[in-house]
Symmetry: C2
Subunit: 312 residues, 2 copies
């Protein structure tokens, strides 16, 4: 009786091979139990992990499979932007039901594109069956000047990159069975991880940063708590998409823009010229209890706190 064992047989291996061939030279070292990497000398290692779950972070009829992959990876990469780290490696843990398998190459394309944009290699992963699609993405970066949530100082100003309200507006439209506007849909489906912007900001005086995943005000509250400061925000200064509500925009998650604390002298115009992206002063860091006070059209307001995947 012949005793030969098939090599790397089975559907899982075929699927992994299919992904690797989509990634081409954007992937390296996949195929051993773990990836071997080098951190540049003198730089610190920065690591984060993030999961995107079907019907929690996205719905199948809202996005293409390529967008689902792109967005899952960008969401994780955005955490490195918040630290002003430069991504160099991505690991992907994909869990999926059978019905998603035909979409795997497109999902892989989206992940590969997100990695490619920031110059990171896909170095490993895991593929398993599950009853819903889950994309776990772990990102590794390196940084010299690390930004954190805890560096805000009294007297600093609060700045945000970009224009808010797109993702919240797109989700609202989707949930009502409507088609979102082009800009809002694009902001939801194809967010940008502000990697280069964050490094520039770290090099030009930023002292604390966070990426907007829970919602601007909820994320500023994280900075307030970590830095032990009071943050005042004027929502009239927040750039929002045309016709969009500033309070909703400040409460909606998954913007993946940056909020930073920096001294007032930050060179806003240089930044905008360099990146083609708005940088707006929306508030200040003050002494006082760790909290966020918000004004809008001259009144203090208490917007809904956050986009919380565990409570909705």
């Amino acid at each position: 009786m012949k005793g030969e064992i098939a090599l790397g047989g089975g559907k899982e291996f075929d699927l992994i091979r299919a992904m690797r061939s989509r990634w081409g030279n954007r992937a390296s070292g996949i195929g051993d139990d773990a990836a071997i990497l080098e951190v540049p000398a003198g730089e610190r290692l920065v690591v984060s992990t993030d999961a995107s779950i079907e019907n929690v972070h996205f719905r199948r009829d809202w996005l293409t499979p390529e967008e689902i992959g792109y967005r899952a990876a960008t969401s994780a990469l955005s955490d490195l932007a918040a630290m002003a780290a430069t991504p160099f490696a991505v690991l992907v843990a994909l869990s999926m039901p059978e019905e998603w398998v035909p979409d795997l190459p497109a999902i892989a394309d989206g992940i590969g594109e997100a990695a490619s944009i920031v110059g990171a290699q896909i170095v490993g992963g895991d593929l398993t069956r599950a009853s819903e699609l889950a994309i776990g993405v772990t990102v590794l970066g390196h940084a010299q000047n690390v930004l954190s949530r805890s560096g805000a100082s009294v007297g600093d100003s609060v700045f945000v990159t970009g224009t808010f309200g797109g993702p919240a507006s797109a989700v609202l439209a989707f949930e009502h069975g409507e088609t979102p506007g082009t800009w809002a849909r694009e902001r939801f489906a194809r967010p940008q991880a502000r990697i280069r912007e964050a490094r520039w900001l770290a090099d030009h005086g930023a002292r604390a940063a966070i990426d907007i995943s829970d919602g601007l005000l909820a994320d500023l509250a994280h900075i307030a708590r970590a830095s032990g400061v009071r943050i005042t925000v004027d929502l009239d200064a927040l750039p929002v998409g045309e016709g969009m509500d500033a309070i909703r925009a400040a409460s909606g998650g998954e913007e993946y823009e940056l909020a930073i604390a920096a001294p007032i002298g930050l060179e806003i115009e240089t930044f905008t010229r360099e990146f083609g992206l708005q940088l707006s002063r929306i508030g200040a860091i003050e002494a006082g209890d760790a909290r966020v006070d918000v004004t809008y059209r001259g009144d203090r307001v208490a917007p809904p706190v956050s986009w919380n995947h565990f409570s909705h």
Copy 2:
């Protein structure tokens, strides 16, 4: 109107705080967007990610929540053992339905225990809602002498650590509604990542290694392919649990023992004395097509190939 934003409010943050308090000094740096780490000078960084999914890797009525967490983390840590790397950091991406929330502290305890045993810190994570429990674990290690799947040389012997058949036997019993034997259940519920053993083996001549997650024969086929060698295995030399079938034991996954290729002179007795664990020579690396040839009781046999989560 008062405009104060609750700080770190919401259930997700309460749950994260609950986990952190369980982990105590086994966790560090959690609370920013990403963890900042140092790789020891002169060592290489080794990274792997792994997901454990309810009803794929375990069933709720088979294991305690503590065992589910322990096993998920150990499964990921075992990939570092396969590379002879020393774990230093663990990131946990937990996705869970509401009904699992009361079990979160116990799951966290299990993850913390697995990290603690190998001396790794829990440095970050993600917590999200999902319709089934999924535990994504990313592990970071450092290594000087990295083992891989591709280093096996013609003339080497094939060795395995430990005694096989426990997990397969436990799963068989569970699936028939029976109670597994104590040893088999323990091997399934509380596997060991062979971290120290792997470093010893790398320092004493091992040239290739893999951890047994897909099944001994399927995993040896990975070595055969990666090293471009033929592997012959004599299943009569494989230590199996009392009354267990060697063919089933060689096909069952999730043993988390090590298979290595090393020159014949490996000091088996020193290893056994050092670790209180069997090290058995079960085969040889030969020239020829990349495949695994198996004999059992004098005959060549073709056992079922692998434990494949995508095909069952």
